[in-house]
């Protein structure tokens, strides 16, 4: 009983600030304050920060795909061997705070031009999540045992992977991809330090919008931020939940 009521209260407390802030885009809302930028807030945001939005979107997709490519084999190995050393090593980007990672990356790799460095940094941050999700799926489904069974039934190792491994991993991989894209989209801790004019993302632009522009513009930027990522996160949850149940 308490749990349900408490959760309802929490839900309200979490949603209200979002609505209050998002609604500042509507002209005439009392707490929005004056708009000093001339054109409507959305037009302003799209005009000034639109390229960042697109850049973040492409980045999210690229990062998601790359993280899957690099992280899935590692996740399979971790799921099969359950090596604590491997798990600890691959958790490093989760353990070390983002800004510390960024200082290190800039010190060593700062010469790399443009978005490539940013993408690589995002993949680094997202990698532990992909690896863990895949490892959990491999363990949960006892993939090794299923692959053995496929071999005995006449399939070569490669075909066994194709007929058994892929179907088993399909959902966890999709969930990982969505999660990775969502995390990359909103990533700030590492990005903020790495961002330069030629490699800035939308969250970095958000910082500018929130600190230098009027509230309605900030509200518009917020809405544009939420637009892709909320459906993405919901989808990731839904697929991930099913994957959890199927395993």
């Amino acid at each position: 009983m308490i749990g349900r009521v408490w959760s309802a209260v929490l839900a309200v407390c979490l949603l209200v600030p979002v609505l209050v802030a998002a609604v500042t885009v509507v002209p005439g809302v009392p707490w929005a304050g004056p708009t000093s930028e001339g054109t409507g807030p959305f037009a302003y945001v799209l005009g000034l920060y639109g390229p960042y939005w697109l850049r973040s979107a492409f980045l999210a997709l690229g990062v998601g795909g790359t993280a899957l490519l690099v992280g899935t084999p590692a996740g399979v190995v971790l799921g099969r061997t359950r090596s604590r050393v491997l798990r600890a090593w691959l958790s490093t980007p989760l353990v070390v705070p983002g800004i510390a990672l960024a200082v290190g990356i800039v010190a060593l790799w700062g010469a790399v031009r443009g978005l490539l460095l940013l993408a690589a940094a995002h993949v680094l941050v997202v990698l532990p999540l992909v690896v863990r999700t895949v490892a959990a799926a491999v363990q949960g489904a006892d993939l090794d045992a299923l692959l053995q069974q496929a071999r005995v039934l006449g399939e070569s190792p490669a075909r066994a992977w194709w007929r058994v491994g892929v179907p088993v991993l399909r959902r966890p991989l999709l969930a990982s991809l969505l999660m990775a894209a969502a995390v990359s989209w909103g990533e700030f801790n590492v990005t903020f330090l790495l961002a330069t004019p030629d490699r800035a993302t939308f969250p970095a632009a958000l910082y500018l919008a929130f600190t230098t522009n009027s509230l309605p513009v900030g509200g518009a930027a917020l809405v544009l931020f939420l637009l892709p990522v909320v459906p993405l996160a919901w989808l990731a949850q839904a697929v991930g939940g099913e994957a959890r149940q199927a395993a």
Partner: protein
């Protein structure tokens, strides 16, 4: 041996990625660090630790009733609640900071109804509330996961049958069973808080935490080794906290 290498070969790209992106750079920073700067970092580190620990403990406490409810079953309402929680999960610190500026800034929404709350966003209260807002969704979902593996109801019943009263059951059954999960999630929340500075950038104008100090030093450009040292201190703290956690589990 060769068999072992073949089995783990597929993990090497990821291992190399982490090596080149995290381990080697941090080692390089540590090598170039200025020992004296470590002392410079301590005040900010202290503030970071206090804030992160307080927020982590508070978030877990506030998350517990909801997490317990979620862990008890499945269904429409719980799924809906989880969906609601997923939204703030995607926010970075800056977004949360902005939300609180709108809500509790000098000309914010809440002060229109409760005038005494004007400017709270920029004080300790606002900072704490904002960090809690940031942490609680994560804490609820992580705690739910951990609680689902604990069969509290069955053991509680067994203890009741053996004659233990409610208070005694909480002390002797609930607490020992829940403690590992609570510790783990608090640690997780602590880790996340330690590294998040978006909120602080926007709201904490008089309370400088270590990540912000790192940024200031780094943007300053005259003593890069100071920024490097601060970063190593922060990384070491995060690593140490994680080790302590693993040990306790």
């Amino acid at each position: 041996m060769a068999e072992h290498a073949r089995r783990t070969a597929a993990a090497w790209p990821a291992v190399a990625w982490v090596a080149l992106g995290a381990v080697v750079p941090l080692l390089a920073l540590a090598v170039g660090a200025a020992p004296g700067a470590v002392f410079q970092a301590l005040p900010a580190l202290g503030r970071s630790l206090a804030l992160s620990l307080g927020v982590a403990a508070g978030a877990v406490l506030l998350a517990l009733p909801s997490a317990a409810w979620l862990a008890r079953g499945n269904g429409r309402w719980r799924t809906l609640f989880r969906a609601v929680l997923t939204v703030p999960l995607t926010f970075s610190g800056v977004v949360v900071g902005f939300l609180f500026i709108v809500l509790l800034g000098r000309a914010g929404a809440l002060p229109r109804v409760l005038p005494f709350t004007a400017g709270w966003a920029y004080g300790m209260v606002g900072l704490l509330l904002a960090y809690l807002y940031f942490e609680i969704p994560r804490a609820v979902l992580a705690l739910e996961g951990a609680l689902r593996t604990v069969d509290l109801a069955a053991l509680d019943e067994a203890a009741a049958v053996l004659g233990a009263g409610r208070l005694e059951r909480v002390r002797r059954v609930h607490w020992p069973l829940l403690r590992p999960a609570l510790v783990e999630v608090t640690g997780l929340a602590f880790s996340v808080s330690l590294g998040s500075y978006g909120v602080a950038l926007l709201l904490a104008h008089r309370f400088e935490i270590l990540p912000v100090a790192i940024y200031e030093q780094w943007a300053g450009l005259d003593h890069p080794e100071v920024a490097a040292t601060f970063a190593v201190v922060l990384a070491a703290t995060g690593g140490l906290a994680n080790l302590v956690l693993q040990g306790r589990r």
